[in-house]
């Protein structure tokens, strides 16, 4: 990576501000600290496994999605940026700068949790990535689509927070429905998931995520929507 690329990344980080990366890292790091403290204080194996799964499949994706959606509408110089480059590319780069460190730290969380024997029931080596990456991609993509579609990070964070909590509260109803089960983000936390359900879920989550990213990209084809007004 050459110097101009580093300079560009540093510039984009300054435009984003400190809050989004800190928020994304707070969820995954805070969760890791909780699990480590529970391990150190002799928490039961069942509670440890549950906490590790909740951090990886629940809190890390939620924090990253809330942080990523907040990047939308933060740029007072958006109009100037649009005169020189595709705004879609700039916005996706900024989201990447928020998501990539959070994803890396969540991967480290998974390695530490496995070493501490705090590991979601039934998960093997593939769980290092498969427990958290599909729900993170899914939730971040949906948050971006809502934030860009409504021009409102507030709406995005409120709706994905509600969706996240609704999935937690309505687990039995979701698990009983074939379509909703494929979009159930806490599958990595639940014990003894049938293999075919797991496979379908882990393919369907990123697939919908990719569709949401494409839709968000298409909406960014009209970047003038972000010029000259407060967020909705």
């Amino acid at each position: 990576m050459n110097r101009s690329t580093w300079a560009r990344l540093r510039l984009e980080l300054r435009v984003i501000g400190i809050a989004p990366p800190v928020t994304a890292l707070a969820a995954t790091l805070g969760g890791a600290i909780l699990v480590i403290v529970m391990h150190a204080t002799g928490a039961g194996a069942e509670h440890l496994d549950l906490a590790a799964g909740a951090v990886l499949a629940g809190f890390a994706p939620l924090g990253t999605a809330v942080a990523a959606s907040s990047v939308v509408g933060r740029d007072p110089g958006a109009e100037l940026v649009m005169t020189t480059t595709a705004y879609r590319r700039v916005l996706f780069l900024r989201v990447g700068l928020v998501v990539a460190p959070a994803a890396l730290v969540t991967l480290l969380d998974a390695v530490v949790f496995r070493a501490l024997n705090a590991w979601p029931v039934g998960q093997g080596t593939g769980g290092y990535v498969l427990v958290w990456a599909p729900p993170m991609l899914w939730l971040v993509a949906l948050a971006m689509l809502i934030a860009i579609g409504l021009r409102s990070p507030a709406a995005a964070s409120g709706l994905i927070g509600g969706l996240w909590l609704a999935q937690y509260l309505m687990t039995p109803a979701i698990r009983d429905n074939t379509v909703l089960r494929a979009q159930y983000m806490f599958m990595g936390v639940a014990a003894k998931v049938p293999a075919h359900e797991w496979t379908v879920n882990r393919i369907a989550l990123p697939a919908v995520g990719v569709v949401a990213v494409i839709a968000a990209g298409l909406l960014l084809g009209r970047p003038e929507r972000f010029v000259g007004s407060d967020t909705a």
Partner: protein, 269 residues
């Protein structure tokens, strides 16, 4: 010309603290209630939870108090939406570069803060009230007008205190944390403090009078279904329900008073 120049209201500096607060609240209300995000998020979350009402089968009860209490429980996803869309109000003036201009006016920090809390808070609670009125209309068509008084009482005792508490926190705490980190903290608090019962082995206010989902008033006065309180083996009394509501309102008051003191000390004027 003379008529045009005559003031029908006294200038801002001559008005009372309360008149300035009402004026600020009116402006904040109108600004917030016109935001599409407020309606999309709050109504969306109510619809999401009410699509699969919980606990199963409660809608077939003949007891109207039990019915409205459990419907109120199904509205308890919307406070996180209320908090999420209120969180960006704290820094709005600063973000738009208006802080110095507002500080130079005779309105003062107190009326602006309380006006923001009352006006923006009321505007964000408006979709909840509209949805509740719609639900009462539906229930009235099914069961008669007897549902209306008990429904209004349930809204005031079960839903409203939690919303006031969350609204006050959401226009004050973001001054310290910023809106992004606050929203994540709000979701974490709502799960930890209201959803994760004592059976998970983590210390939590869930199931005590200090939770924000209105379980104590619902259980004590409306025979509503208990979740976290039952895990603790508690059947709430009327006194505990009053304690629960008083705690939420006092915490809301404390958040606003402390924020006003801090902002006043920081102010250059």
């Amino acid at each position: 010309m003379t008529t045009v120049l005559q003031r029908t209201a006294p200038p801002t500096a001559a008005r009372t603290w309360w008149a300035k607060t009402v004026a600020a609240a009116r402006y904040e209300y109108l600004m917030q209630v016109r935001r599409p995000a407020v309606w999309v998020v709050v109504v969306g979350l109510i619809a999401l939870r009410c699509a699969s009402p919980f606990p199963p089968g409660f809608t077939s009860t003949t007891d109207n108090t039990f019915l409205v209490a459990d419907w109120a429980g199904n509205f308890m996803l919307c406070p996180i939406g209320v908090g999420a869309v209120l969180a960006d109000r704290a820094w709005r003036e600063s973000r738009l570069g208006l802080s110095d201009l507002l500080t130079s006016t005779p309105t003062g920090i107190g009326p602006r803060l309380w006006g923001k809390a009352i006006g923006a808070g009321a505007a964000t609670i408006t979709p909840v009230a509209v949805a509740w009125v719609g639900l009462l209309g539906y229930l009235t068509a099914q069961r008669g007008a007897g549902v209306i008084p008990v429904g209004l009482a349930a809204f005031a005792a079960i839903i409203l205190p939690g919303l006031i508490f969350i609204s006050a926190c959401s226009v004050t705490i973001p001054y310290l944390t910023g809106p992004v980190l606050y929203r994540l903290g709000l979701f974490g608090y709502w799960v930890w403090g209201n959803m994760v019962g004592p059976r998970f082995g983590i210390p939590t206010p869930a199931g005590t009078p200090f939770e924000a989902i209105g379980e104590y008033p619902a259980g004590a006065w409306f025979h509503g279904t208990l979740f976290d309180a039952r895990q603790r083996g508690i059947t709430p009394t009327g006194g505990e329900a009053v304690l629960s509501i008083a705690f939420l309102l006092l915490m809301a008051l404390a958040a606003l008073v402390i924020t006003q003191l801090v902002l006043t000390r920081r102010s250059p004027s």
